[in-house]
């Protein structure tokens, strides 16, 4: 379990980079995965747990035969994906926030957001190519 701090965000990004590299993803895919994890971690720490020292973030990486599956859980109020405005809508283009989930969806093959009253779980899935080798599981 990780603290709700910016250090957790940086650490999540770094771990994602290492694991994506170990999975054999191409350089640009590693960057995309790491950025998606960073954005999800920012959401968990900042919007979910609101930097509350009593609330934690859980980060899991699982490599299956087909996918790298990254799960990030917070202990916040629960994010309703239906209420996230479209950052590409003309009226939202100049907003200074609200692009995190959009970027996550752009960079990953599948994104599942499961909000509840005890927090939000976001699952980030990237398909592993045939040439990608290795495999690793980790949990923080």
């Amino acid at each position: 379990m990780l603290d709700s701090t910016l250090e957790t965000v940086d650490s999540a990004e770094q771990t994602a980079t290492e694991i994506a590299n170990n999975c054999g993803f191409a350089e640009d895919e590693v960057l995309q995965i790491a950025m998606a994890v960073r954005e999800a971690a920012v959401n968990a720490v900042l919007h979910g747990n609101a930097y509350d020292p009593d609330k934690k973030v859980k980060l899991d990486f699982v490599r299956t035969e087909q996918d790298l599956v990254i799960t990030i859980r917070d202990q916040g109020k629960g994010l309703d994906p239906a209420k996230i405005p479209d950052p590409l809508a003309p009226e939202n283009l100049l907003k200074t926030s609200g692009r995190g989930i959009f970027l996550i969806r752009s960079f990953m093959d599948d994104v599942q957001i499961s909000p509840s009253q005890t927090g939000t779980e976001i699952k980030l899935i990237k398909h592993v190519h045939a040439r990608a080798g290795g495999g690793k599981e980790a949990s923080q």
Binding site: L6, V9, M35, R38, E39, V42, L46, L93, L94, T96
Partner: protein, 114 residues
């Protein structure tokens, strides 16, 4: 690496050479402070040279948008110079590439300020 900046003036345009990352936390704050400082001195022509910025997250994108609108609302101009491929691609997918005035030649960029 966190964001580092240095500012120089060319023909009345303030060129802010940026290097490192513009991300949630220190990187975004550094950018906010430099723009606020320039506006406070009445310097409203700002060219952000992002040639050595290798990473921007959604908070950093938000900070660029904030800088752009803040400068514009004060009657100034903010342009971007020398985007790396990563930053260029991010601005493309967020549809901000056409919002910002993006240049890839410093001399032409300086001349483009009114």
């Amino acid at each position: 690496m966190n964001l580092k900046t240095s500012t120089r003036q060319v023909d009345g345009v303030n060129i802010v050479d940026c290097s490192g990352r513009i991300t949630l936390g220190e990187g975004s704050i550094v950018l906010r402070d430099i723009v606020k400082d320039l506006l406070g001195k009445g310097q409203k022509k700002i060219l952000l040279n992002l040639g050595d910025v290798n990473y921007i997250d959604s908070s950093g994108i938000g900070e660029l948008v904030s800088a752009y609108t803040t400068v514009r609302n004060q009657g100034g101009e903010l342009k971007l110079l020398n985007l790396t491929k990563k930053v260029h691609d991010l601005l493309q997918i967020t549809k901000l590439y056409t919002v910002f005035d993006v240049k890839d030649d410093e001399t032409a960029a300086v001349k483009a300020f009114r």
